[in-house]
């Protein structure tokens, strides 16, 4: 029997390596056959306390394709939350109306707290800058699908490594699979030492760079993220470094044939559009994989897979 039944997914470290693999295997089945009405007797609540396009639609599409009914809101305006109801009371009430809660909330730690007061399982769809574990699961799915394995890969992480929560989660998850990390960022946006410590503690290696060109020949995966202007107190600094983390098609000459480019999206200008038509671009398929991974998580947590 699966260990995932009845579990919450709040932080990527809540699941073990075996459990990641179990979810990815189930997701593969949904990619082959996404429309299975196995949740037709279930109600999934999607509570989005702040706007989200991709994540909410992906969860709702996943639940719909499995035949579940969906209740919830995409904006707290017009709900009891706007009247000042506490998160505690909202969750206790919604849990009594549903079999599973999917929640996005801008307050960091809100998902862990909500899972402790909820009588039904809860999936964190993003709690501020803290965690967004389903994004990490779909990143793992995309890596395994494009490389045929998660083991022994050279993973280049590019852009805002300091504040990017998807970067931190993916590094932590890939520490289970003997990865080598190539970290490319402006010096102001280097990976925090606590995350580097996770790499060291796993007995793995990382290398730091400031120029994206240096990692292209060795990378199996290039994971791009956005460098935001507002992260720089001095606009001159931003101007100086902004082009060091932009990927263009002409830079891809000499990359490994199996190399694929991932991006959590939305993209702004860090991947130029001429990359989209190369065989290395994988970011749009990556977003599509989110549906299968979220189907797998909901089905496993509700105990029907």
């Amino acid at each position: 029997m699966s260990t995932l039944k009845g579990r919450n997914l709040i932080s990527i470290t809540d699941f073990s390596k075996q459990e990641y693999i179990e979810v990815l295997d189930i997701a593969e089945g949904f990619e082959q056959n996404p429309k299975q009405k196995i949740l037709s007797d279930k109600v999934v609540a999607t509570l989005f306390f702040e706007p989200s396009t991709r994540t909410r639609l992906s969860f709702e599409s996943a639940a719909n394709q499995l035949g579940a009914r969906i209740i919830g809101f995409s904006d707290p305006g017009g709900t009891s939350v706007q009247k000042g109801e506490s998160l505690h009371d909202t969750i206790v009430m919604v849990a009594s109306y549903s079999d599973l809660i999917v929640m996005r909330n801008p307050k960091e730690g809100s998902a862990r707290y909500a899972s402790e007061v909820s009588s039904v399982p809860l999936i964190n769809a993003g709690d501020g800058a803290n965690q967004h574990p389903t994004q990490c699961m779909l990143d793992l799915y995309s890596i395994r699908k494009t490389q045929g394995t998660l083991e022994n890969l050279n993973i280049a992480m590019v852009g805002d490594l300091k504040y990017g929560r998807t970067v931190h989660s993916l590094v932590q998850a890939m520490c289970n699979f003997n990865a080598t990390f190539h970290l490319v960022s402006p010096v102001e946006l280097k990976l925090p030492s606590s995350v580097k410590m996770s790499i060291k503690n796993a007995g793995l290696k990382y290398y730091q760079y400031t120029d994206l060109r240096d990692v292209i020949p060795t990378a199996d995966i290039i994971y791009m993220t956005r460098v935001q202007r507002e992260r720089f107190p001095d606009p001159m600094e931003y101007e100086r470094v902004k082009d060091s983390c932009i990927l263009t098609a002409s830079m891809l000459e000499g990359c490994k044939p199996n190399m694929r480019i991932l991006h959590p999206l939305p993209r702004v200008n860090e991947i130029t559009t001429d990359v989209d038509s190369t065989p290395y671009a994988y970011y749009f398929q990556q977003a599509q994989n989110g549906v299968y991974v979220r189907q797998a998580l909901m089905a496993a947590i509700l105990g029907v897979k």
Binding site: S11, S86, L87, H88, N105, P106, K107, E108, G109, S110, R112, Y113, D127, G128, A129, N130, Q131, S194
Partner: protein, 153 residues
């Protein structure tokens, strides 16, 4: 034998002596234990000579014995403090305040965006580094350190 150094602050018949406090922690300990509102005798000495610390602080509280949570609070701001229980002018027990592995309820999370600072949620931390005092919030996963440590009202 009466200790000459302790004579600087009079002995108490019954209660607790908090000794070997860093001088900068004395008033903080008074505040976090709520001793400003304590209505029995509280004797405070600071910048006293100490073999161990060079200079130290000491607080003697009459007719008061501290619970585990209160001792954890003392340990967080004065990790080498000695807690001495006094009964009938004699030392009934003496031990060092020890930083616990987990801290609940009385420390505030330093992350202003944490749910515990937005709603009435009891705080919970894992102490991940006792030497440099680093607490990891159970909810937002951010660190609260010696520099950002604040106690709940």
């Amino acid at each position: 034998m009466e200790n000459k150094k302790e004579m600087v602050v009079s002995a108490i018949e019954n209660g607790t002596v908090i000794d070997h406090l860093p001088t900068e922690s004395v008033y903080q300990v008074i505040r976090i234990l709520g001793l400003e509102r304590y209505t029995d005798e509280v004797l405070i000495g600071n910048h006293l000579n100490s073999g161990k610390l060079g200079r130290k602080g000491i607080i003697k509280i009459k007719n008061k014995h501290f619970n585990k949570e209160e001792i954890s609070k003392i340990a967080l701001v004065a990790p080498y403090a000695s807690i001495i229980d006094i009964e009938d002018y004699k030392v009934a027990s003496k031990f060092n305040a020890e930083i616990p592995d987990h801290v609940e309820n009385f420390v505030r999370c330093a992350n202003p965006k944490c749910i515990t600072n937005a709603e009435v949620v009891p705080t919970r931390f894992d102490v991940v580094d006792k030497e440099n005092l680093k607490l990891r919030c159970h909810y937002c996963e951010k660190f609260t350190t010696k520099e950002t440590l604040k106690f709940s009202e």
